[in-house]
């Protein structure tokens, strides 16, 4: 694709095309190395001498939040459909895994997959029902869905309402695992979902998502099947968040409507996507970290934590309206573009557009 355009642009200095290609490869390698280093650091983290048990538990929690926010980013960041209802998919994943574990004795990994799949089916249905919704209407519609699922887990007997369901210890391949082991299960899952999202957004499917985001009319008139790609985006997004939900329930061996019957998860996940920057791969990492670490549930701090959370949220939005990831990436991107220009890349190509500010259609 790049070649066909460079030939029509201003004639580049001879030999520059190879240099540009090498440079692009280098940049890509740098990205991979950075991602590899990050995951290596996460892998080593629980083994460090000063790290205590609760930190590992909190780490697993952050990982789960990141994963759930990744699910939101597929819809909100890449497809441009703002969802305020992803807590529902978290709940569906959690309850699927928990009920399967309770009644059939399924272990963590099959529970996770089942949670993701059931969640994806609900995602598919919601995508069909809300096929024509856009913008704020989508936000309110998905919020309605979250409330609806909340009402169901609160009131239908099998979900055991606010009493909750207690679960046996977790096992993986027949071995019992503690928080320490669970951390690694979550980490490996996160690596897989990250790799998946990475390949997805660079594939034809991902390009169709982005085309729908940027203009659904233009996308449709150039042959993007809206029905197919919107429901696909909903299903994939719900799958990832459902997997995170299964982990979220299993890590504490207990789920109840007290936690999943409310809409706070939905709101938190949207905040994670917006704060981190949902149209970039590492946006959910920053956002998930932000949301999991702000002490929302600290009893003594409760009111003050609320104020802090609000101030932090507004500060981030004023300073980085397109998310923190965008601000972090901006100098890197500028530096790389300069390098590309120096290497002889034609200016209009080097001036590749960044992710859109804000989001939504």
């Amino acid at each position: 694709m790049a070649e066909s355009i460079t030939t029509t642009a201003a004639p580049a200095p001879s030999g520059s095309r190879a240099a540009v290609a090498t440079l692009k490869n280098t940049f890509q390698m740098q990205n991979w190395v950075l991602a590899g280093l990050f995951f290596a650091a996460c892998f080593v983290f629980p083994l460090l001498p000063f790290v205590e048990g609760w930190m590992v538990f909190q780490g697993a929690f952050i990982i789960i939040y990141i994963m759930a926010a990744q699910g939101v980013s597929i819809l909100t960041g890449y497809t441009g459909l703002v969802t305020v209802g992803h807590g529902a998919f978290l709940a569906i994943g959690a309850y699927t895994a928990a009920l399967l574990m309770k009644y059939t004795g399924l272990s963590v990994i099959p529970g996770m997959i089942a949670g993701g799949l059931v969640s994806a089916v609900f995602g598919l249905a919601l995508g069909l029902v809300f096929l024509r919704l856009a913008g704020a209407f989508m936000a309110i519609g998905t919020l309605g869905f979250a409330f609806f699922i909340g009402a169901i887990v609160n009131n239908v007997p099998i979900f055991e309402g606010r009493t909750g369901i207690s679960l046996p210890p977790n096992t993986v391949f027949g071995f019992e695992i503690d928080d320490f082991g669970f951390y690694y299960v979550a980490l490996v899952t996160l690596a897989l979902t990250t790799l998946f999202v990475h390949s997805l957004i660079r594939s034809g499917v991902g390009r169709a998502f982005k085309a729908l985001r940027d203009s659904d009319k233009a996308a449709e008139s150039s042959g993007v099947n809206r029905l197919l790609y919107r429901t696909l985006a909903f299903s994939i997004s719900a799958f990832i968040t459902g997997v995170a939900g299964a982990l979220n329930g299993l890590i504490v061996n207990y789920i109840s409507a007290e936690v999943y019957g409310d809409i706070w998860y939905s709101v938190d996940l949207l905040v994670a996507a917006v704060v981190g920057g949902s149209a970039m791969l590492f946006g959910p990492f920053l956002g998930g970290f932000f949301v999991a670490m702000v002490p929302f549930y600290l009893e003594e701090l409760a009111d003050f934590a609320f104020i802090l959370k609000g101030v932090a949220l507004i500060a981030v939005l004023v300073l980085a309206p397109a998310g923190v990831a965008e601000v972090v990436a901006r100098p890197v991107r500028a530096w790389r573009q300069r390098k590309l220009l120096e290497a002889g890349e034609s200016p209009e190509l080097a001036d590749a557009p960044g992710p859109p500010t804000g989001g939504g259609s």
């Binding site: 913008g135 409760a302 609000g310």
Partner: protein, 289 residues
């Protein structure tokens, strides 16, 4: 029984209507889904409670004072939070109002505690027979207030220069600006109106649902559902949506059981949006949000 349920629905719906109208007014002039609307109401109720209890003011005086304070709070929100990011996408604006929501929740909990407080003016349960149904006097008074506010809003939008300018900004902010309408001032006025409606919503609801930081959370969500029902751009639509939801809730509560009372609004909105993505009487806006 049907008539009775309709009447109770009308009473509940009239309280949702204040929030729904405020939601519409802010949304159509600023593209902002204002999650802090319920907190404006909550702060209004708290202030009125303090004015009456600690300062010993009369109900009407406390009401007026609290309305003015919350209008100032609305303007403050616009100046400090919304104006710096006014050009961002609607999702950013929406998330920022969530920040305001957290702050106001935190401030009220911090200052006045999380436990529910009784409002010093008690709800008057005296039954009044009206069109073959029974309705308590408190509800009738509230409905009278809401009707009066509705009439006030109507004449504001119809007859005053500011009201007409506000409608012009709704229709097309850029043209309005070019025609010499001070759009910034109008946006400020919009937030003041949100505060005005919020304070009334809080104070009128306070005797029924008590006063606590999260007192308006449910009303806010219902107000939103009502606003979307009316298409998010139409004030009469929002009022109609609010009344529909109030009535549907009471019908579901009466015939299906209490569990369904809160869920029905969301079932309604999901079904409605599935078939009419632009709301019940939605208009196709030139610029989609």
């Amino acid at each position: 029984m049907l008539g009775q349920l309709l009447m109770s629905g009308l009473a509940a719906g009239s309280l949702y209507a204040l929030t729904a109208v405020a939601v519409v007014v802010v949304f159509r002039n600023t593209r902002t889904i204002n999650l802090a609307q319920g907190d404006f109401a909550m702060m209004g109720a708290f202030l009125a409670l303090i004015f009456i209890k600690s300062l010993g003011l009369s109900y009407l005086f406390a009401l007026g004072l609290s309305v003015v304070c919350i209008m100032a709070l609305g303007v403050l929100t616009e100046r400090l939070v919304m104006r710096p990011i006014a050009d961002s996408g609607w999702l950013t604006l929406f998330t920022a109002t969530l920040g305001v929501y957290y702050i106001l929740h935190g401030v009220s909990g911090w200052l006045w505690g999380r436990d529910t407080k009784a409002f010093p003016v008690t709800f008057d349960p005296t039954p009044i027979h009206f069109l073959g149904t029974v309705v308590s006097e408190g509800h009738l008074i509230n409905m009278a207030w809401v009707t009066a506010i509705g009439a006030l809003l109507y004449s504001f939008f119809r007859y005053t220069k500011q009201g007409i300018a506000m409608r012009a900004v709704t229709d097309d902010p850029e043209t309005a600006q070019l025609m010499g309408i001070p759009v910034r001032f109008i946006v400020m006025l919009t937030w003041a109106m949100a505060g005005f409606l919020g304070a009334f919503a809080g104070i009128l609801a306070a005797p029924i649902i008590y006063v606590a930081p999260e007192m308006m959370d449910e009303v806010l969500i219902k107000g939103y559902v009502a606003a979307v029902f009316g298409g998010l751009y139409s004030i009469p639509g929002a009022i109609l949506g609010a009344i529909l939801i109030g009535v549907a809730e009471n019908l579901a509560g009466g015939y299906l059981g209490a569990h369904f009372k809160t869920a029905i609004a969301f079932v309604m909105i999901v079904i409605l949006l599935a078939f009419r993505p632009q709301g019940l009487i939605g208009i196709q806006k030139r610029r989609e949000v």
